[in-house]
Symmetry: C5
Subunit: 102 residues, 5 copies
């Protein structure tokens, strides 16, 4: 899985019927310091993620195993909202602190 | 999913019978500012996309779940035409404005 | 799908029995100007492609859906020979012209 | 498969029910000299791996075939802890030596 | 498929039961001149490949279709030993010559 920050939304009226009702979000990839990289992906939201939240994106056929994404024609799904990331003993991200710092 | 701009078409007469009747489009990948990157993909059209339109491309086995692409031997399918993209509160793309600007 | 130019062949006698009888071709990837890039892939031929021809390569599980590649243990299959590519209104490749220019 | 070093953990409370009970680990990719690269992945732990251990990560649908990861909506799973790596006749990594050197 | 040179082995005692008995090899990717690149993969051996041999690596779910790799939780399998590669009319690799040159 990779993770990133939800930064945007995509609106589409002409689409496959099987995509109806899905929220499509733009997710900016981040590096291990939680800094933005210059790549992004579009993922279907499976957990009610909001703009600014750090999320876990599952890719490939496994995205279709998400409880709210069953059998959808998608190759990327947001299946978790990240609360905290700890690397080498340091907490490099915690959701509440992030919110408080804004 | 990734998204890009439809820029071209591919013609092929010698091909797998299971590709018959599919429209194969060249899709230029774009970055988050909707500017062209130097990569592209060839995707089967599942929603009647036209040259110049920004589209959502689904890759891997999920492309075969598109309503009009069922069980086709493809690894990329266009399953939505993008109307608008909003990132960090800014509308970075809207289909009508794009058309008007040309 | 990606496309490229068939540039070579691979010979193998010690191989999985399920690969027997397949022609394995080296395909040089090309960019949108049909110029060689420095990457390549090895793909199983599903349409009788020859050296020098531009072809469409299908990757992943979909390669196994090719009519002549059913259930083979492959992750890339040549499923079409490209006759012409048109990008932004320009014909950037046409098979006959290519042949005549040689 | 690729391999890397387990460097961190991810905590998530809002997640897909099918991810419940899984340990999600941050794995830093390493090159063939076992030096860190600047890429990483998030993988579900299938073998009880701990921080600092070098592990084998299986990606794609195969990750869901791990004994402890059956049918989970994941695209990467840790399915082995690496004890030793030998390249070109040299032992470039051995778990016990690594531990002793600390 | 991609191809490369077998350069090493991986030893693991703590692993998924479904990986038991598989030989895990380190494969250095090569470019079209058969020169080493700086990337590599770990693949399960399905054809009895040895150190120094050039092999064909099948990735993704297709790796699990190898005769000796059926249903194993792997994403890369060695399914052929390369005897010769011919590109643009030149034989750029032949196994016997390679052996003799050593």
């Amino acid at each position: 899985m990779n993770f990133g920050r939800v930064v945007g939304t995509i609106v589409s009226t002409s689409k496959d019927p099987n995509l109806e009702g899905l929220k499509l979000l733009v997710v900016q990839h981040v590096n291990m310091d939680m800094k933005d990289t210059n790549t992004f992906t579009v993922a279907a939201d499976g957990v009610g993620a909001g703009i600014g939240e750090y999320v876990l994106v599952v890719t490939g056929s496994s995205a279709r195993l998400g409880t709210n994404l069953k059998n959808r024609p998608i190759d990327a799904g947001i299946l978790a909202i990240v609360d905290a990331v700890e690397v080498e003993g340091d907490i490099i991200y915690r959701k509440e602190e992030e919110a408080a710092a804004r």
